[in-house]
Amino acid sequence: MKKSYRIIVLAKQVPDTRNVGKDAMKADGTVNRAVLPAIFNPEDLNALEQALRIKDRFPGSHITMLTMGPPRAAEIIREGLYRGADDGYLLTDRAFAGSDTLATSYALSRAILKIGDFDLILAGRQAIDGDTAQVGPQVAEKLKIAQVSYAEEILEIKKEKVTVKRRLEKGVEIVEAPTPLLITVTGSAPACRPRNAKLIMKYKRATTLSERQGISEDYISIYNDRPFLNLPEWNVTDIDADPAQLGLSGSPTKVKKIENVVFQAKEAKVLQDSDADINWLMKELITNHTLG
């Protein structure tokens, strides 16, 4: 049995869509991030907790946080460090702006290749701002590694095999998968542990170079004395990425229209994976203009 594991946790800073007001969307159909508080995507915290539990069991394990976003998303790395992650990288570049899931997973996969060796990648099932649940699986595809989605608990890790409990609509499924492996974790997994007092004090000044612009001179010297306070920022060049596959140009997804939908369905219908049911569904969706 291997004594320790290298784990990368993918995490995203998201607007807190759990308390959405009337200004939450802009006229162009994108999320108005300015009015919503930025938080750690909830299911990414579940993923982080799974990573920390592996580190509890195998103390030499190493957890790297990886996030992509504007400069302030460095907060996600700090939140990880406060709970027991070992280091982290922020992908930030104007060229990333407007990336859809395809472009985002491309950028993340490039960064992961640059980070190098890993046994596990853990990510939340989906982010609460987009709810696509695509980024994790797409990263696995781009890295050509196996993936397990909807994980609720990592039951066992052996040298080249991981046993995972998946939480599905009608029950649980226990699966085995080879490492290196990407796992997306659902919100029904255990909540993340609280921040640790010593780690908060240790990392509270951990910042990226761009965050440090204009801070008080008093504390500049500690960045030399305590190198772990320097959070690395990577841009497109750093991760050796093709700009054409990033941002708006790399994103085939186009938002056509955003509508405020109030759910009115009074009954639910469960469909089987039979041709008859799928035909019924297609007709239904065409009739109510969801498709076409």
Partner: protein, 575 residues
């Protein structure tokens, strides 16, 4: 996200008291740890920032984990299985969160794995945890035992036990016995030294021991055979995690703080280590342990009072009768404002006491490392006197205020408050113990009378009186000066009889008068720093003034013959 630190600005206000600069500098010894530990602060501002950030975590754990678990823990309670305590499920969850957040050993030095926080932020944590769950705070707060080991044990014991506290092991202090409650001099648990094995062994029974099955236990035992008083008692540390040699005979069924296991323990040849010197157990170490515990109960009282007041406020705003919210009725809004004023006064007294203890303890620990300069010795003496005088005052008054606020909060809830449907019913039951354990209010009064006799309170009152104030606040100072004069007259009348029983007879009245003046001044100084305390100051002084007048009138009309009038007549002898 509920956070008990950020939703209560009074905590941050008390944290940022001007004396904190001095306290932090003493506690951090010119920030000498900064090159040794990556989490040590580099200067005063950095320390305060760390205090705030850690208190924010504690506030979050209180709001998100401990408070939501309180009701289930109260219903489930701990139980005994194979002579061992099993906590309620929620208690285990709370402990797990506290351990992962690294919130044990908060005040211990970094070299043992502690956070090296001063008493003020530690008390603030206790304040919040108590608001969340008054039962759980007892288990968490027994990290006080580590402070006693830190103060009096030898280096080998410190290195053995202190890191374990910091890693989340729990403590207990085994003092009381069936026949030794308030009167600890009567402790009988026997400690015998086996010369061959070079080992102490404990035999006997302890009763009413909070968290009695905790991992590391401090035990008061009679080491000197044939003695009968406090001078025959020594302090021992017993490693329950390693030996599991005690038996938990039962857990008491209690009115409140049900989640906190109160144990009866049986010791049969239980190995233990002597702490410090023989015969000093009660005289020196327990006194120190008790002072820490009393400050803890003062914090618990303030936290419970905070919870009770918030429940009352919320209910009074929501509950409608006769076509309007009940908070609009004078009888209700007056109750709420008096509750808030007394809560603010008690909290201010709690943190003033914590600062005095901080100053004294910081000098005490420095004096163990090097000899103090003359000025430092004087300061240490000054703050030791203040800490000794303010601790029983804070414990006694805050616990009474807590009970009063819990009573009034339940009253505001009306019939609903009497039912199990609202948290106030549990809070009310939990409040009741605060004025009983770690010394009843009556015993706190006795301890406080020493401070009164030494003139410690009056000297400090003069210091408050001389503090420069904003002009608009002078009128309140005049009120407090009048109250002080009235108090001195009453005190003189009692003292000039030179009758010990007469002093004890009026003890509570005198201490309450002094306490009202001190809390009045503290609220005045708080208002001087931040005007939002004005309302509490105003309401507090109105009440305090009339309470003091009543007590003054009672004393003025009292003479030595009173004691005969108040004694119960002999009841017919039983056959």
């Amino acid at each position: 996200m509920a956070n008990f630190f950020t939703d209560n600005p009074d905590l941050k206000f008390h944290l940022n008291h001007p004396l904190m600069k001095k306290i932090v500098e003493l506690k951090e010894r010119n920030f000498e740890d900064k090159d040794k530990f990556d989490y040590a602060p580099v200067d005063f501002e950095d320390t305060m920032d760390s205090y705030e950030k850690v208190l924010d975590v504690i506030g979050e754990i209180c709001g998100e984990i401990i408070a939501p678990n309180a009701e289930d823990i109260d219903r489930e309670g701990p139980h005994v299985e194979n002579d061992r305590v099993v906590y309620a499920k929620g208690t285990e969850e709370n402990l797990d969160a506290i351990r992962k957040a690294g919130l044990m050993g908060i005040t211990l030095p970094r070299k043992y794995g502690g956070l090296n926080f001063s008493i003020v932020p530690y008390t603030m944590a206790a304040d919040m945890v108590s608001r969340a769950d008054a039962a759980f705070v007892n288990i968490w707060g027994l990290q006080d035992c580590a402070e006693t080991i830190h103060e009096f044990a030898d280096e080998e014991q410190k290195e053995k036990y202190l890191p374990r506290f910091c890693n989340g092991e729990t403590g207990s202090m085994a003092l009381t016995e069936p026949d030794a409650g308030s009167d600890l001099q009567s402790v009988m648990l026997k400690a015998t030294y086996d010369e061959e094995k070079k080992q102490w062994y404990l035999n006997g029974v302890k009763r009413f021991i909070t968290n009695g099955d905790g991992d590391i236990s401090l035990v008061l035992a009679r080491s000197e055979e044939g003695t009968k008083d406090g001078r025959g008692l020594s302090m021992f540390v017993y490693d329950n995690k390693a030996h599991k040699a005690i038996k938990v005979r039962r857990i008491e069924h209690k009115l409140g703080i049900i989640g906190s296991p109160t144990c009866e323990l049986v010791y049969r040849n239980v190995p233990a280590e002597l702490v410090g010197s023989r015969r000093m157990g009660l005289i020196r170490y327990v006194m120190s342990l008790m002072n820490g515990a009393r400050l803890g109960i003062a914090a618990q009282s303030v936290g419970i009072a905070e919870a009770a007041w918030r429940e009352a406020l919320e209910y009074a705003k929501e509950r409608k009768q006769f076509g309007k919210a009940i908070i609009e009725f004078p009888a209700v809004y007056e109750m709420l404002s008096v509750m808030k004023a007394k809560l603010d006064g008690a909290r201010s007294l709690l943190y003033e006491t914590s600062r005095f203890v901080d100053m004294y303890k910081a000098y005490f620990h420095i004096s163990n490392e090097r000899s103090l300069e003359k000025e430092e010795r004087q300061e240490m003496k000054k703050y030791q006197l203040l800490a000794d005088a303010y601790t029983p005052l804070a414990k006694g008054l805050a616990s009474e205020v807590c009970n009063r606020i819990a009573y009034d909060s339940l009253q505001i809830h009306g019939g609903s408050g009497f039912m199990k449907d609202y948290p106030i019913e549990r809070i009310y039951r939990d409040a009741r113990i605060t004025s009983i354990y770690e010394g009843t209010t009556q015993l706190q009064v006795v301890a406080a009378l020493t401070g009164l006799a030494k003139g410690t309170y009056l000297k400090q009152i003069r210091e408050y009186e001389d503090t420069p104030l904003k002009p608009e606040l002078h009128t309140y100072r005049r009120t407090l000066i009048t109250m002080t004069e009235e108090f001195e007259q009453a005190l003189m009348k009692v003292q000039e009889t030179e009758d010990k029983e007469f002093v004890d007879f009026h003890g509570r009245r005198l201490i309450e008068m002094a306490g009202n003046i001190i809390m009045g001044y503290l609220l005045l100084l708080d208002t001087n720093r931040e005007s939002r305390f004005w309302k509490s100051l105003e309401v507090f002084l109105r009440n305090a003034r009339s309470e003091n007048k009543a007590n003054a009138a009672f004393i003025a009309a009292s003479g030595l013959s009173d004691m005969g009038r108040f004694k119960q007549d002999e009841v017919g002898e039983e056959e």
